[in-house]
Amino acid sequence: MIEGSVQIWLGFFLILLGTFWGRMGPAFLRNRYYAPILILGLFCLVIDIYELDEQGSILRNAINDFLPWFSVGFLGYYLVLIGAPTYWKTRFPQLISGWLIIFISFYLYVKYNNHISISDVFISFTSIIGILISLIFFMFLVRFVENRIPSEDPAPELTDSEKEFVRRIISKNIGVDEE
């Protein structure tokens, strides 16, 4: 049972790790290993190798009920967003197939989650209170720490060579002939 617990909590940790590495820093400098780590974490959660203890089984069952509709719905959302005329061009094949897939995800939700009662969902909603308290507390902590950092002196003016360098970059980017 220990192996099962280790596997499932390792999966949880790897999913968080992959998500955070995938969102950190500027878009051109993100950790290249985030996707394999995320997929490995998902496999750890889904693959049923070892026997699980009670809470591990509850978690595994919930994940097995959650993943079918969520992954299909995610794909549907993705296709609709690609097909929608956000950038002036409607792509009808993606848009229509996306909406169809979203409707399929509803069917999958009902099929896999018909044992969940409305009162269960209402009780689960109370977890939002805990989540909000935690987030607000974190915001105050970060604000407190950031306010304690002494402000730095204003940056010195650019030198002539730096100004020339910036001028050349901007000229190049806006397509102005330097000569």
Binding site: L16, F20, A62, I63, A84, T126, S127, I129, L141
Partner: protein
């Protein structure tokens, strides 16, 4: 305390601990020279322990049913994850409204983009 109140308390503290532990992991794995995670990490760890202590106090003698604090932490984390998975469909349906609006909206004319197409 009756069963439903206890379930609600487990859900609240489960959500609280899940978010706190996620943020703790976030601060550790995203460490860089300009981040200052020591104070947030310290206080968040204390609040996680505080959440566990609330359950231990309320369970009283029943706490012996759990095989330790680690086990209780697992139960609350699992509760938090299960709760998030249960309430996500509600937000999924709410987001459909915006997705539908994005699907059917007509965009204003963009003369500059048309210029690009003619070139």
């Amino acid at each position: 305390m009756n069963d439903i109140m206890m379930q609600i308390l487990y859900s609240i503290i489960g959500g609280f601990i899940l978010t706190n532990i996620s943020l703790i992991i976030f601060q550790v794995v995203s460490y860089h020279p300009y981040s200052r995670p020591v104070i947030p990490l310290l206080f968040q760890s204390i609040t996680v322990l505080f959440g566990l202590a609330i359950i231990i106090i309320l369970e009283g003698d029943d706490f012996s049913n759990f095989s330790g604090i680690g086990n209780l932490l697992q139960i609350l984390l699992a509760q938090g994850i299960v709760d998030v998975m249960r309430i996500l469909p509600v937000f999924y349906v709410l987001m459909l409204y915006y997705l539908f609006r994005a699907s059917i909206r007509t965009m204003p004319d963009a003369p500059l983009l048309e210029l690009l197409d003619t070139e």
